[in-house]
Structures are given as C-alpha cells and as structure tokens.
C-alpha cells in the first residue's frame, strides 16, 4: 500500500486540532467564569464565591496547561506539513496568527501566573484584574485564530501574484464575510460547553451533599446562563448557516445532503449520502422545508451538489452526519435546560435525583457538539485549504514521504493518548475532592499548613 503524505498530514492535523480544540472550548468559558467569581467575591465577600473560584482555578490550571502545550503544536503544523500553503498564504495569514501570539498568549500566560500564584503577593484588585485579563486573553485568542480560519473559508481582500496571495485590504481580511458569524457561534459554543460542565459538577456536588451551598450556586448560575445562551446559540447557528449558503454554497449543499438544486428544495432529515451514486439512500426528506429555512421563502433557489464538479465537493457523508450530530446535541441541550428551569420554578431542582444524574452525563455534550461543528466546517471546506482557490493537495510540504508523516502521526497519537486520559482523570479527581477541599489546602484558608505543597505531595497526606 502506498502511504499518502497528504492524507496522513490531514489525519495528523485532524488529530492534533481535534484534541486541542477541546481545551479552549473549556478554558475560554472557564476563564470568564472565574473572572466572574472573583469579581463577585470582591463585591460581596461571600466565601462561597472564593471557594468556587479556587476550586475551578485548580481545574483551569490543568486544562489551560494542556491547552498551551497542545496549542504550541498547532502553528508548527503549518510549517512542518503545509509548507506550500505557508509560502502561498503567509503574507496574508501570518499577521493574524502573530497577533494571536502578541495580543493573547502573552496576556494569558503572564497573568495566569499571577492568578494562580499571586493571591498573596498582589493586592486583591490586581488579582481580580489578572483574572479579567486572562479571560480577555482567551477571547482575543479566539478572535485572531477564527479570523485566520474565516479568511481560509471566505477569502477576500487579497490579490494573487505568481500563485501567491498578497494582502490588499486588511480590514476585509480580518473581518472576512464568515468571520462575525463564526466568531459569535464559536465563542457562544465554548461558553455553552463550559456551562454544561459546571452544571454537571454542580449536580454532582449537590447530590453528594458535601458542599451544598457551592453545589446549588453552580447549578443555578449554569442553568440561568444556559437559559440565555442555548437559544442564542441556535439562532447564531442559523445565521452562520445562512452565511455559509451565501459564501460557501458547495459546503452548504454537502451539509444538507442536497444533490439536485433548484427552487423549493426539500430538507433531508436523515439518510445515507452516496457520493458516487450522487443521491441519498434510505432518505427521509420534507418537501420545500429546505428552501423555507435556508431562504426563508417557500420556493427559494438553493444550489445542489450537482451544480459543482465532483472534484470540488467535500466528503459528503462526514459533513452530513457531523452537522446532524451537532444539531441533535443542540436540541438535547435545549431540552435539558427547559427541564431544569421547570424544576427550578417548582423548587424541586436540588431534590430531583434523576435530573441531577442526567446533568452529570450531559457534561460532555458541549465537547461533542464542538467537535461535530468543527468537523462540519473544516471537512466541509474540502477539497480546499483556501476555499475555492488553493487545494489541500497543493498545500502539503513537498519533502515529506508517507513514512515520515506516519511516524510523526503515530508519535502524536501515542503522546496524546497518555496526556489526555491523565489530564481528564486528574480533573475528575479534583471534582471528587470537591470545592470544600480548598479550605484546608489553600494558603488563604484558616488551617494553613506549614508547607502546603509538601503536605499535598504525599498522597495519604492532606489529600
């Protein structure tokens, strides 16, 4: 069998970005949540906010550290595996990536140190400011990396000279047509992801009954937050979809599983897209509904996959199903939030065991939806790295052999399969110890050990 460096490079990119994106998906929301908790504590001086902030900071430190080390891998991928893309597009995308570094990463990294280690060393207001700046850093990071991605999806503001892309209008490049929608939809998705984790941990804490005040507060904060953000996210998703229809019609046709375009197109609910037969097998579809929600008119015109040459179509099966998984999860989330609000209104939230148990399981929903959504937009962009302009096949480094990339991919797989299970189990362990544990091991709490790190170092010690 011939090893294909392009295919393996794509697998490698999917592997490293797929794991990496889970971390910002969590830390972006968590940073804002911690900043909120720190602010609430500064205003109210209620210990419950401090306990929660210290509790989540311990989880944040781990997830953020994992985000940093897996994130450093990412920009190097452009060079190691996609050097022709880097040469061709470097003049346009490099400042966006560099701005992510100088605006976001330094802010996050420096003030995270102060946030984690500086509570006793800096005044409380400065400590709160550090929390805010870390949160701002995570948002700035999302801004620039999504600006880069959006330009690759909907390129504008450039000119082509000798097959390379040069900037003409920086405002257009940064705020490319899909950027506002992608940014809003992604940030909102990350917030929802974090809130579902907080909901799960709150439910667990309430059920266990060890830190009831902290548990109840987590549940309520998460639920009210989600009551706003889940519906908002669905609206933003719809707007993002309409934007895709306007700017990436081939991707939208793959998402919809729509082969024959025209007026009054149906909505495919479920089926199996057959890329060679150019039709969906065993399909359930509703006539005219596709046009209705895509064009907001009964007979609106939508392009189908057959309007594009076969070599310009994305792998339809993957995009079709990843999109449906994302939407399905969104609806499930809506049902969870509605149920929770009803229970809250009836004052039964903290006693309804089945719902709390369910909340624990739905803690992972956001991550699944993020992966599904990211797959939809990235696989949907194929076969292009720069949509409609530069093919993925023309982007890969010419010097790489299939064996080279196979070796590096195997190493990435091995390392990630060590660090992610350890990281997740370590975070679960912190959750099991619960928010109350912060009182005994925090340098701020009453019972201050002589050397907390030493005491904590022994598994049978303070743990």
């Amino acid at each position: 069998m011939q090893l294909d460096p392009e295919f393996l490079s794509r697998m490698q990119f999917a592997w490293v970005i797929g794991w990496h994106i889970l971390l910002p998906a969590f830390t972006l929301g968590l940073a804002s949540y911690i900043a909120f908790l720190e602010g609430a504590y500064a205003l109210t001086k209620l210990p419950v906010f401090l306990n929660l902030s210290q509790f989540w900071l311990r989880i944040f430190a781990i997830s953020f550290g994992m985000g940093v080390v897996t994130g450093i891998v990412m920009p190097f991928q452009f060079g190691t595996n996609w050097s022709r893309f880097s040469d061709a597009a470097g003049n346009v995308i490099s400042p966006l990536l560099a701005y992510e570094g100088i605006v976001a990463f330094f802010l996050e990294a420096t003030f995270l140190g102060v946030l984690l280690f500086g509570r006793k060393l800096v005044p409380p207001a400065m400590h709160f400011l550090a929390a805010v700046l870390v949160a701002v850093g995570t948002l700035a990071s999302a801004f620039w990396i999504l600006a880069t991605n959006s330009w690759m999806q909907t390129p504008v503001g450039y000119e082509v000279i000798d097959g390379r892309y040069f900037p003409k209008n920086w405002f257009e490049i940064v705020f490319s047509p899909s950027f506002p929608f992608r940014f809003a939809h992604t940030v909102s998705a990350f917030y929802v992801t974090t809130a579902f984790v907080v909901l799960a941990v709150g439910a667990y804490t309430v059920r266990r009954g060890q830190s009831p005040a902290e548990g109840r507060l987590m549940l309520r904060l998460a639920l009210w937050f989600l009551a706003i953000f889940v519906p908002l996210q669905i609206v933003l998703g719809d707007m993002h979809g309409l934007n895709t229809l306007a700017h990436q019609p081939a991707k939208l046709a793959a998402i919809e599983g729509l082969w024959d375009g025209g007026n009054g197109v149906p909505a495919s609910i479920i089926g199996w897209p057959d890329q060679t037969a150019e039709r969906n097998l065993g399909e359930i579809a509703i006539p005219n509904l596709g046009s209705l929600y895509l064009t907001h008119s009964w007979g609106g015109a939508v392009k189908g996959l057959k309007d594009f040459p076969p070599d310009q179509r994305a792998p339809v099966v993957i995009v079709y199903f990843s999109f449906r998984i994302m939407v399905g999860i969104g609806l499930l989330m809506l049902a969870m939030v509605a149920t929770g609000l009803i229970l809250l209104a009836r004052k039964q939230l903290d006693r309804t065991q089945w719902y709390l148990r369910l909340c624990q399981f739905t803690g992972c929903l956001g991550f699944l939806a993020v992966i599904a959504g990211w797959t939809t937009t990235e696989v949907g962009r194929q076969p292009w790295t720069i949509y409609g302009l530069m093919r993925t096949a023309d982007s890969v480094s010419p010097s790489l052999t299939g064996a080279d990339v196979l070796l590096s991919l195997v190493l990435y797989v091995c390392v990630y399969l060590v660090i992610f299970p350890v990281g997740v189990s370590v975070m679960f362990r912190i959750v099991r110890r619960g928010p109350a544990a912060s009182e005994e091991d925090s340098p701020i709490g009453s019972g201050r050990p002589k050397s907390p790190i030493e005491a904590l170092g022994t598994p049978e010690g303070a743990r």
């Binding site: 920009p75 490099s94 420096t110 500086g118 060393l121 040069f166 080279d404 350890v422 790190i453 170092g457």
Partner: protein
C-alpha cells in the same frame, strides 16, 4: 513616496524575539534538566517552584519566534520548518511532557516518578532538538525554488547532533545560574557545583562548534579568516573568553547574579557569532533577508500592533518577574 523599508526593523524584532526565547525558556529548560539531580524531594519542589509561575510566559516566545518568522520571512518558514520536521516534532512532544509535569506531578501523585522523569527528560530532549535545529540551520538545506526538497532526516548530522548536546549544556548553565539566584544555603551550593560542570561542558561546546563551523561551510570560513574581517571579529572570542573567566569566578565566590548573567553573556556572544557568520542570509545559501521578506503591507500591518504591544508585553513580563522576585518559597502554590 518611497515606502519605508521595514526589513531591518523586522530583522531586529525577530532576532530579539528568538533571543528572548533562548534566554528565557533556555533557563527554565535548563532548570528542568538539573531538576532530577536535586538531592531530595523538597529540593525538587523548590527547584520546580522557582520557574512554575513564569515558564508558560517564557514558552510563549517560541510561538512569537515561529510566527514572527512566518510573518517577516514567509518563504524561510516554508523552507526551514519542513527541513527540521523531526527535531521540531521531538521538541513539541518533549515540551508537552515537560509542561504538563508541572501540574501532573502534584495531581497524579501515584505516578510522580514518571512525571519527574518526564519533566527532566522532556526539558533535555527539547533543548537537544533545538540545538539540532540550530546545527541544521548553520549547515544549510537542500532547496529548489521556494521549497525544501531534501529528506526529513537530512538534518541529523554529526555536526547538528553535537550542537544539540552543546545547547543542552548551555541551557543547563543558564538554569544553574537561575537557581543560584532563586535558592540559598545548601541548595545554592548544589546549583553552583552543577553550574561549574555545565560551564566546562558549555565552553567545550562553544569551542568545538567554533572550530567545526568553518569546516561545514566554506562561506563562513572565508568570512572569518579573511582580512580585515578577522580584525573586526576578533572582539567576539576575546569577550567570550572574559565572560568564561567571570562565569567561573562568580560560580566559585558568593556572587548571586554573576553566574546567570555571565551565562547570558555567553549566549549573547554565541548568538552574535552565528549572526555574523550567516548575515545577510535567512535561508543559508539561498535566500537573503531581503529576498525572503514578506510583502511591505504584511510587514506594516503587523508592525503597527507590534510596536505598541511588544513594549507592553515586556513591561508586564518584567512586572510578573518582579512579583515573584526573591528567593523561592515552598508555599506559593495554589494546589
């Protein structure tokens, strides 16, 4: 109107960025390498705490360096990075292990020994891989047009493996200097003793690489040994010799800051030596900085923000070092 030539500015910024990375992550990678030699666990805790609040910021310069290279000299990025495919891979995987050890050795205490070794070995491997990149860069790459066309293992040569080992000693020397600043008593004596060995290794490394370099590249030999260049270049080895003498003295007397800054001085001199040898090439033998430069618009767009943000970054980085100044304490953790 002739647009302002930004290439010298970007060359300076990139050179400074790479140097900041080498100096800052250099000392904390060095601390990581020395970590497992610490006498006991409480000493190891202190050693790790001496860099725990700052390593993340230090490593951020690596991203700035790589993205700065892509932004200022895109074609150089597109040639050099695939040419050092495996050293970069090793460096990234090593940095993953090392970075996570900070948290995991506390949290995953059953496997503390594994993470302790991961921290030390990860630091060592990352330093070695960066040294291989440096050696490969000095040697040059097989280029056709605007792409690297050699093999992915071409970068591993006796010369580049040697520069890898030499850089490990250099980083360890910086790390020992940092530990002299941050510790006291017996632990500081330990750091000084290790520092002396690292200095011997570093001096041998600088010496042998300096003798070897003109043999791997005839252009460099011509530049070094032709008149009058040899006269202009002579201060470099002379200052280096003075710094070596001062590093040895300060490791042996009671100087707290001497060893670190002497080591830093040795890095500055080595860096200048390499820059003199390769100037004005950014891809040795193929692209000068001017030929590889990004479009003026790209340079200008990024420069606007950089000129504003870089000083801000330096100020708050300096502030965070100031917050964590003084001898390292065992109880700054949040765990």
């Amino acid at each position: 109107m002739q647009p302002l030539d930004l290439v010298p500015i970007w060359t300076t910024i990139l050179a400074l960025g790479v140097f900041f990375y080498v100096a800052l992550d250099g000392f904390d990678l060095g601390v990581g390498m020395l970590y497992n030699f610490a006498p006991d666990r409480s000493a190891r805790d202190l050693v790790m705490n001496s860099i725990a609040p700052i390593w993340d910021g230090n490593e951020t310069w690596l991203i700035l360096g790589s993205m700065g290279l892509l932004a200022a000299f895109p074609v150089a990025f597109a040639i050099i990075i695939p040419a050092v495919y495996f050293p970069v891979l090793l460096m990234l995987l090593a940095l993953i292990f090392r970075g996570l050890s900070f948290e995991f050795r506390y949290r995953d205490a059953e496997h503390r020994t594994f993470w302790d070794h991961g921290f030390a070995a990860g630091s060592a491997l990352a330093a070695f891989a960066q040294g291989v990149v440096l050696g490969a860069f000095i040697q040059g790459f097989a280029v056709q047009g605007r792409q690297f066309v050699g093999g992915s293992f071409d970068c591993f040569t006796p010369f580049s493996v040697f520069t890898g080992v030499a850089l490990m000693f250099g980083y360890a020397l910086l790390g020992a200097g940092w530990l002299v600043i941050k510790t006291e008593g017996a632990l500081q004596d330990w750091a000084r003793a290790l520092g002396r060995r690292c200095l011997i290794g570093t001096v041998l490394g600088i010496g042998i690489v300096s003798l070897w370099t003109p043999y791997v590249d005839a252009h460099i030999a011509a530049r070094w040994f032709s008149w009058p260049d040899i006269m202009y270049l002579s201060p470099v080895p002379l200052i280096t010799a003075v710094l070596i003498w001062y590093a040895w003295q300060s490791l042996n007397d009671r100087s707290e800051y001497g060893p670190f800054f002497a080591a830093l001085g040795l890095f500055v001199m080595s860096y200048i030596g390499i820059a003199i040898s390769l100037w004005p090439m950014i891809v040795p033998g193929h692209f000068t900085i001017r030929e590889a430069a990004a479009s003026p618009s790209t340079q200008a767009f990024l420069l606007i923000g950089t000129l504003f943000l870089l000083p801000v970054i330096l100020v708050y980085t300096a502030w965070s070092y100031w917050v964590f100044r003084g001898k390292v304490r065992a109880d700054i953790g949040y765990h």
